[in-house]
Symmetry: C2
Subunit: 266 residues, 2 copies
């Protein structure tokens, strides 16, 4: 089982993806939003690349049924129902709903890797469940940080590095790492005791703080608050559970790691 | 002065480079070869992308005057004079000569960034002189690891991270780092006490060991064995010295850092 991570978010050659499990990562904040919304009961999320596409797609649904969410320049888009803070995506607003989501980096990333055998949404929220499921599948993997306007993203890479850390600890010698995957693991080790610090030194994290979204940084650094691993297929993201990971086992995993982040009830 | 490092070796948009200083890095082994050859008195090096191009170009010179050097699959190319080990490029062979060089990654990289304001060749051999010169120029910079067959290269990134370390220590607060540059610096810090270890865990380093080039790893890990910074202009790499860096000052810098690598006389 080879683990790779692509440090820049251009579209890979589709022929290289068809046998691989892909994990799209946009910790600040698209995949955190997606995982949070699905865990709060959202029916499905349709990621689209542009604002125009979001409005056009909404016309195909009965009026008012899909919610529009996302950001440009980190801010809520005019005419949209929701922004890009996971804290907005709570059951009272999203339960049973279809969401159309467009963000600067994350929603495009899903389309860039749509040829993958499985395409999952990962963040710190569901990292244990994602790791377990990937190891159960036992395929070569590509972790796909969504980047920051086409550039390398520190926080997404560190999240990828934490996934790799779990692969190593659970999978042992069966896990082969590329140079990039080794590097992501080293970067994670640098920040593992203080993920929020990584957010505060990253370009995008500092930009979010400057725009008034500092509370999102601590919120998005929470680990294992759900065992849902949303998967992207045929243009839509829906709820999935790692087959062999019961909620009880997930809680046990979390206790064993002894991470004391405050976990909201989802 | 902003420092960036591009983790994957695709050609950047030329318009983004024209005001920047670029440092091409291919520690194992193209830029190590280039710096070594120039420091041993080679007149000039013409980097070309293909073996065919090398043979064609040689025809334009009086017979036997240019030396052909390089590798494919790390091995010397049939009909070439020299391979891709810096230890081959000694004064007895290269002094006063024009070299035509083609390697899998490094020689292509120079053409990928030819729009840069200055395009330098960097490796551990000349890292102090490169850092000093870049700081004297005081322009935004792009470090350009040549990669490994199009993929991320650990050893080149760590060399970039060491350059960044020197920028921070000498340049202080005037140096702004992108997420990628911060990450390269962290990766360097992980291996700074044992650069050869980094070579041994990297994909390309392990491949070189398997092919019988293990001695090149320790050789290429030598720091500051010359103060020459070769520069690429109009398709040719020639010798340059950092203007304000005398050989005496270079020696003092090395002593201050207290790095005890064995330094051959070049």
């Amino acid at each position: 089982m080879q683990i790779d991570i692509q440090f820049l978010p251009f579209s890979p050659d589709p022929s290289t993806l068809s046998r691989k499990t892909i994990v799209v990562i946009d910790v600040l904040r698209a995949t955190s939003v997606i995982i949070h919304a699905i865990s709060q009961g959202a029916l499905e999320i349709i990621p689209v690349a542009t604002v125009e596409e979001a409005f056009q797609l909404a016309k195909h649904f009965p009026q008012g049924t899909p919610l529009l969410g996302g950001e440009r320049g980190s801010q809520k888009i005019k005419g949209f129902d929701l922004g890009n803070s996971p804290r907005e995506y709570i059951a009272e607003k999203v339960k049973g709903k279809t969401l159309i989501l467009t963000t600067t980096n994350g929603t495009k990333a899903f389309h860039s890797v749509s040829s993958g055998r499985e395409v999952m949404a990962g963040s710190f929220f569901n990292i244990g469940a994602t790791a377990k499921w990937c190891l159960d599948l036992d395929r070569d993997m590509l972790l796909f940080p969504s980047g920051d306007g086409g550039s390398f993203s520190l926080e997404d890479t560190i999240c990828g590095g934490m996934l790799i850390d779990q692969f190593i600890k659970i999978g042992g010698k069966s896990v082969a790492l590329t140079d990039a995957a080794q590097s992501a693991h080293i970067l994670y080790q640098r920040f593992e005791d203080n993920l929020v610090e990584a957010f505060h030194v990253s370009t995008h994290g500092r930009d979010l703080v400057a725009k008034g979204f500092e509370d999102d940084l601590a919120y998005c650094a929470q680990i294992d608050i759900t065992n849902i691993v949303p998967t992207f297929r045929d243009g839509v993201i829906r709820s999935s559970f790692a087959p062999s990971l019961s909620p009880q086992r997930l809680c046990r995993n979390r206790e064993q790691r002894g991470r004391g982040s405050q976990v909201p009830k989802l």
